[in-house]
């Protein structure tokens, strides 16, 4: 391999990673932002994989029947909102484990999505549009990588907005208070259960929208194998991101890029050991965990009320 072809191979891999980051990060981003909101209020919702699938199938169905993909996105958000509210309602009973409810709803949501989706495997629903930000380049690969979906842009805008909401608004403060010290919240006359209901429902809304991205844009179809665990991994991303919406954006982009590494390297002719490429995101996750936590530091940024027994 001479220098110029190896340069072009590196360039192609870089473009593929950029495209992968933009194309496949959106579900991670929406689910992790939603989960950040929920966890900041002191509740863990592990069921977002099920919410993601419900969002995907509802979004696809609504887009198909209305002919408008944005109706699909809203419907997906609505389905996610209901799933989130269901989680919060079940958790509002005393001595109910939110972890167990989350796992139950993950299985329930996935199963219900499969059931509702049976007639939707064959038809093709209208896709979400993309904005062409690659108009300035003649490189077809780069041009394709810069086809930016509206939901991706919405997610990029949402991340700082959410950070500002949590840090600088009265409602954000109330929400964080419920996550940090539930007794103090009660003393202030706040009803933590109500705040958590709203936060979990809003988190579900975002996760549902993340699902609609899968079925309405990339890969843009409804199949039962649509999610390869993005909803689960996104919950883990919240921990790497230290409950910080801006870091959620960074880690989502990183995991989107890493997920497309295997395909990019093989397309460039580097195929030895391709089984290992698939493990890179998981290795990365482990590495980040080891690097960012330690005996002394603990898991900084974690809302104090987050514990497995409430």
């Amino acid at each position: 391999m001479n220098l110029s072809t190896s340069n072009s191979a590196v360039g192609a891999i870089f473009i593929a990673l950029l495209g992968g980051a933009i194309k496949t990060s959106t579900p991670y981003l929406f689910v992790s932002l939603g989960e950040t909101l929920t966890e900041k209020a002191g509740r863990v919702n592990l069921g977002l994989e099920g919410t993601l699938m419900m969002g995907a199938v509802t979004g696809f169905g609504a887009s198909l029947f209305s002919g408008n993909p944005f109706v699909g996105v809203l419907a997906a958000g609505g389905a996610g909102l209901l799933m989130g509210a269901l989680h919060a309602w079940l958790c509002s009973f005393r001595r109910v484990s939110s972890i167990a409810v989350g796992i139950a709803l993950m299985i329930f949501g996935t199963g219900l999505a499969f059931y509702l989706g049976k007639p939707l495997i064959q038809p093709q629903a209208p896709h979400l549009p993309a904005i062409d930000l690659g108009f300035w380049t003649t490189n077809p690969a780069l041009k394709e990588a810069l086809q930016i979906n509206v939901l991706f842009i919405a997610g990029v805008v949402l991340a700082p907005l959410l950070a500002w909401f949590l840090a600088s608004t009265r409602w954000g403060l109330i929400l964080r208070l419920c996550g940090e010290n539930v007794e103090a919240a009660r003393a202030k006359g706040i009803q933590p259960e109500r705040v958590r209901l709203l936060a979990t429902a809003a988190g579900g809304f975002l996760a549902g929208i993340g699902g609609s991205f899968l079925s309405l844009y990339y890969p843009g179809t409804w199949t039962e194998g649509l999610s390869t665990g993005q909803g689960l991994l996104a919950v883990a991303l919240v921990i790497f991101s230290r409950w910080n919406p801006l870091l959620c954006l960074v880690t989502s982009l990183l995991f989107g890029a890493l997920g497309s590494l295997g395909a990019a390297l093989q397309a460039a002719g580097l195929s030895q050991g391709f089984y290992l490429f698939g493990t890179v995101p998981a290795l990365m996750a482990l590495g980040l965990m080891i690097l960012t936590s330690g005996k002394k530091r603990g898991v900084s940024g974690r809302p104090a009320e987050l514990s497995v027994h409430t």
Partner: protein, 372 residues
Amino acid sequence: MIKKIVLLAAALTAGLGLIGCSHQSQQKASPGGKVLKIGFLYVGPKDDFGYNQSHAEGAAEIAQLPNVKIVEQENVPETVDVEKAMEGMIVQDGVSVIFATSFGYWDHVLKVALKYPNVKFFHCGGLYQADKDPPNVYSYFGYIEEGQYLNGIAAGYASKTGKLGFIAAKPIPQVLENINAFTLGARSVNPKATTTVVFTGGWSMPTQEANAANSLIDKGIDVITMHVDSPKVIVQTCEQRGVFVAGYHADQSSLAPKEYLTGAIWNWGAVYKTIVADIQAGKDPSHFIRGGMKDGFVKMAPFGPGVSATAKTKIESVLGKMMKGEFVIFKGPLKDNTGKVVIPAGTSEVQTDPVLEKMNYLVQGVIGSTGM
């Protein structure tokens, strides 16, 4: 407290039930005659534009036969789950014939077959060995690589760059056979053609398949084919980005009216009808059922607009030879892509040669590795 546990349990069972059970049965009985109950197990949804759909279409054909009742279950994982599903069909539905349609069911079929010697187990793709496998197990498969060879010819003519792409699930022998046959077909009309392979690592990975298609197209590849369970996403991506696509498993031409060249597709209905007729007549079917174009096990999808007249003539002439059983895809001298001779000059590995079902190399012209 109890109320909450009940609620939780209800949510759990409802969810699990919805995932597992799309257990449906269809029946067409005629007076007289004993009803033959047959169970079908699929690894994915049965309308996936791909592998599972091709089997379900075959099952639907035999469901129309008199005195046949079929029971189907979709989304059965290649784990101990398939053993439970098969036992459920035998014990609860009383089936006496089982079609286990996914390759990874093989070891589980062998296990359950020992327990139920009166049930006949037909497995798709396994390599039956009479000296060690139970006598109530049968293996069936089709030489679909003949179709991939013809796909390769169509691709070799259609490609402007001579760079072809193959998106595959896992490097098992049947997948490698398809990649090699496709490449040999393409190189028979364009000796400089290369095939770049991307393995996704799983039979149904829509996001990875879309990533693979986009990465290949970005590298200047202008014809793509595949061996994954549901080619829908790949075919749609090719149509959207304007590169040719050769299909696999089932006819996907409706998904890519502009770019679909042709496709290698299964014709399981014909296979299942013969097996059922044998059983109903009291004959013991062969334990090693194989066939290709000639036997009607596989066929080609109609040509799309991207196939030139020259390509059509060439494909039809090779297909004619296949129909007469005169065409050999794998013959020496043949080198693998590391330069090693895998079939010496003068040797022909005809389609029925079981050695082909142990293939572990990629031929010259393939860019990729078997991953070891």
